[in-house]
């Protein structure tokens, strides 16, 4: 197997990171506090506050997330077409902020709630690709791993703090969900303001009119990276299942559930930047493959020899390592392959492939769990992760 030297262009180390990357990181941090504080209470709000069945909630969540995948592509294309990535991202951030107030207005109407949650997800779908494109356009290609690492770490701090802020608001407001939504809106609005004031757009020179979307997939290098992203999505069974299996195996009280997620994001945010820098140094593909290795071990451990605290700590640690090795690193791998003119569309394409594959894999895993057994399902997932590792190495390990 011939691994990497795929990317060893010029690097300016940490100095290569422009103010724009930190500005985008700050926007993501603030926005994630806002969105994760709602994400932490929304299931409770719908299931306990409004007495919706958890199955119905899961369905709503899954369907709306899937439906907005197409919007992501549209947003990416629009950003490239108009050459205004900041404006499209800003619209996405703004839409999600307004949706927080919508939760307040929707009251008990399930239809209205559905519309509001869709708007929120649509905002997220719209903003992600233009934001990542802006990062790649603001950073020398040799430092992309670092740039995404720093961005994802800041993003992770927001995700880590969000649920804690939500709990603090609930405690201070006598369990008022409305207070959580209002606070979340205020934080999100501030995030939009920081974006407007501090993030610089990176328009391309207008004369470079290159062919659009379809031509993108004609490039074998782009096809390979989209395929690799879909593979990544396909072997990710979802946090919910991983934590649920741990909970069942160890008989954990429901109260521990959020802590598993908090632990994983802590590992992720601590390791995202250092692993990103390592990826710039030794090769992004190597780090990505190491991530698959960590994921395989996680799946095997779920029904492996360990138990008790060592199992919980190791799984949370390795799962965080998997995210830190793959999430930002994939974008850093993709950046240089995509033509600048079509970078947002390309990133949206990659993220859509990953998201759709992930939707499929969580459904398949759920079925495997139900019709075979959790043990069999996790072993199949482990085999799939190994296959993905080999295939990704073969796909991306070759020079174009």
């Amino acid at each position: 197997m011939y691994l990497s030297t795929i990317d060893k262009p010029k690097s300016a180390n940490w100095k290569g990171l422009s103010g724009n990357v930190f500005a985008l990181g700050t926007v993501s941090l603030i926005t994630d506090v806002s969105s994760e504080m709602v994400a932490a209470v929304l299931p409770l709000y719908l299931v306990i506050g409004l007495q919706l069945s958890p199955a119905a909630y899961g369905l709503i969540d899954g369907v709306y997330t899937g439906a907005t995948t197409l919007l992501r592509l549209a947003g990416g294309y629009l950003a490239d077409r108009t050459n205004r990535r900041k404006a499209v991202a800003g619209f996405g951030y703004g839409l999600s902020a307004v949706a927080k107030l919508g939760l307040l207005a929707a009251g008990n109407s399930l239809t209205a709630l559905g519309v509001v949650i869709t708007a929120d997800r649509a905002g997220k779908g719209l903003r992600t690709a233009p934001r990542d494109a802006l990062i790649t356009l603001s950073t020398p290609s040799g430092d992309l791993g670092r740039a995404f690492g720093v961005h994802r770490a800041m993003d992770g701090i927001g995700a880590f703090a969000g649920p804690l802020v939500a709990m603090a608001v609930l405690a201070a407001s006598a369990q008022s969900f409305d207070a959580v939504f209002v606070t979340s809106f205020c934080i999100a609005a501030f995030g939009v303001l920081v974006l407007v004031l501090y993030v610089k757009d990176r328009p391309e020179p207008v004369q470079r009119r290159e062919p659009l979307k379809l031509a993108l997939l004609k490039d074998p290098a782009v096809r390979r990276i989209v395929l690799a992203a879909s593979l990544l999505g396909l072997v990710t069974i979802g946090d919910g299942f991983v934590y649920l299996l741990l909970q069942k195996r160890e008989g954990l009280a429901f109260g521990w559930f959020p802590l598993l997620a908090v632990g994983t994001s802590l590992v992720y945010l601590l390791l995202a930047a250092p692993l990103g820098a390592l990826a710039d140094k030794i090769g992004r593909l190597k780090v990505m493959l190491a991530g698959y290795g960590a994921l395989t071990v996680v799946y095997l451990l779920l029904h492996g020899p360990l138990s008790g605290w060592p199992l919980l700590v190791l799984v949370v640690l390795l799962y965080g390592v998997f995210y830190a090795c793959t999430d930002g690193v994939l974008m850093a791998l993709a950046g240089p392959v995509l033509p600048e003119r079509l970078r947002t569309t390309g990133i949206a394409l990659i993220q859509s492939g990953q998201a759709l594959a992930y939707l499929g894999s969580s459904v398949l895993f759920g079925l495997a769990w139900q019709f075979w057994s959790p043990e069999a399902a996790t072993r199949v997932a482990a085999v799939a992760a190994v296959l993905a590792l080999i295939t990704t190495a073969a796909l991306l390990g070759r020079r174009k």
Partner: protein, 315 residues
């Protein structure tokens, strides 16, 4: 660039002020009642938006306390309150007195579903969903326990009890919906096994349960105050996926009367008095109303308490 910083700081102060102000105002709850009041005339305890409340039968004003429960019941001054799963907290059963003083808490795992207190206020029972969340779905599992508040004896799961007439408890057994008799020892509940949902008779001191296999499809039983009849939800056509009809079983004659409520009721009914049965029904907008219907199959259902659930007569 100072202007940019100024805008940022002003916005931070303004938005922060709105968030903190709104949160603080929500925290100052408008004079919550401090107890579950008895007062003049017959009264009901219900949950209003998840808060323990009392209301008189005649309608009138509602006193809402600050106590949150997912499900609650009251008898003779003993309140059982199944508290919801919190962000960092498992669910629990709290036994309270009328001044909402906590007498005992029991940590539980699962989603609160049913609770009952014996007429004397001594025995407390509860049911939680451990797996799955609906009686209509396949593959759900429940956990049902009983506490004797007088002796402190705690049975965390009815599965500890021996099953009369069966050498071994079938592995697919689930228990739910306990209701107590006046002797504070015998009780009724539902036992499901092999696709049947039998009424069971239990003996707390003897630690045994006996499924009454001639009484199938008796879910969430509720014994009338005079101890002669059981109000329950009966699966339509024997299939819970088709919904449930509130019915009353006469324990002596074994005669079953379907009540005038034709909508599906997924609740453990509560007897308001010997002639009236109350239950919660969820509206399309997600809120619940407490309805009442005569226990003899006559009359029509009527809303007893709007925007409320988990009714219990205050005795």
């Amino acid at each position: 660039m100072n202007k940019r910083l100024l805008i940022t700081l002003t916005a931070a102060v303004l938005l922060g002020g709105v968030a903190v102000g709104y949160t603080a105002l929500s925290g100052a709850a408008p004079d919550a009642a401090q107890s579950v009041t008895t007062g003049a005339g017959p009264r009901l305890m219900v949950l209003s938006n998840g808060k323990l409340s009392t209301v008189s039968h005649a309608g009138g004003s509602r006193e809402v306390t600050g106590q949150s429960c997912d499900r609650a019941y009251e008898a003779a001054g003993t309140i059982s309150c199944l508290r919801p799963v919190g962000a960092l907290k498992a669910s629990e059963l709290a036994v309270l007195d009328r001044d909402l003083k906590e007498l005992r808490t029991i940590p539980l795992t699962g989603f609160p579903n049913r609770t009952r207190v014996s007429a004397s206020g001594r025995m407390v029972a509860w049911t939680l969903f451990v797996d799955g969340h609906s009686y209509a779905a396949n593959g759900f599992s429940t956990s049902t326990g009983i506490l004797d508040t007088k002796t402190g004896t705690l049975v965390t799961s009815l599965e500890e009890f021996a099953v009369e007439g069966m050498p071994q408890r079938p592995v697919d057994t689930n228990y739910w919906g306990v209701t107590f008799t006046a002797d504070d020892n015998r009780f009724y509940a539902t036992m499901s096994t092999g696709g049947h949902r039998y009424l069971l008779e239990g003996d707390f001191a003897g630690r045994t349960v006996k499924p009454l296999t001639d009484l199938d499809d008796v879910e969430c039983p509720s014994l009338s105050p005079d101890g002669t009849r059981i109000a329950y939800k009966k699966a339509v056509g024997g299939d819970p996926q088709k919904g449930w009809r509130v019915s009353v079983l006469d324990l002596k004659s074994r005669e079953i009367t379907e009540l005038a409520e034709t909508r599906s009721v997924d609740d453990q009914p509560a007897w308001v008095d010997d002639r009236t049965v109350a239950y919660g029904i969820q509206r399309d907008d997600g809120l619940n109303d407490v309805w009442a219907v005569p226990a003899d199959g006559t009359g029509t259902p009527a809303i007893l308490v709007p925007e409320a659930s988990s009714p219990a007569p205050i005795s």
